[in-house]
Symmetry: C2
């Protein structure tokens, strides 16, 4: 089985280069914009300001064959499934963020850690809240 | 941009038909098994029993063109990005579950809501905990 993912839009952040990206989501970080494709706008109906959403996005240009590496955070040697590294067989990022505002085709959130232009794959109402680790 | 996802393994649950699947993750539900492909086992190194993991999986045979529908939970009419419906442009499921045990190439967890045989896309250490909604 193989399946195709297609972006539902893209993410605008202040980061143009990988070394500018913060290592983690920053709840009070800079404002970022989720720009939804015009033909999918109807899918946003029912989302509201203040709501927590789980977003999934796609890390482009990473190494999908790496299986183990040293954690940037702890230095420990681990498998990629025990790390949040972008380099993984299916490089899908996940973040829970609060909707700051909704304007036209865009949702504004804070503190994402990815490059500007990152393809957005999905938005779901969150069932989870962040815990300290 | 389009990208290919390839399963890293598959999920064994007690559910053979869609109408048997619970509507949500059940923290004390039946034991389910994440079977990892033999060539990716090294990626598990560092995961441990008791740890919360975020798993991503792929809903096969769904309608990726639906943009709005009635919530099965509340009856409300909503966009798919405001729902956890399986029918969505990129049908990726997300669940946070605790590792009950690890044996050979398999991770045992509890209470997943998907069909047996569902393709598994990713395992990440969780940064989030479930909240009541």
């Amino acid at each position: 089985m193989e399946a195709l993912v297609r972006p539902i839009g893209s993410i605008e952040t202040p980061y143009k280069k990988l070394n500018e990206c913060p290592r983690n989501i920053e709840p009070n970080g800079p404002v970022c914009k989720l720009v939804i494709s015009k033909d999918l706008i109807d899918g946003l109906y029912g989302l509201s300001v203040g709501q927590d959403i789980l977003i999934l996005y796609w890390f482009d240009n990473v190494d999908r064959n790496i299986l183990q590496k040293h954690s940037k955070k702890t230095g420990e040697f681990s498998g990629v499934f025990a790390l949040r590294s972008q380099n993984r067989p299916n490089p899908i990022g996940a973040a829970i963020v609060k909707i700051e505002s909704i304007e036209n085709e865009s949702i504004y959130v804070k503190g994402l850690d990815c490059l500007s232009g990152t393809p957005l794959l999905d938005i779901k109402p969150a069932k989870f809240s962040e815990i300290n680790r």
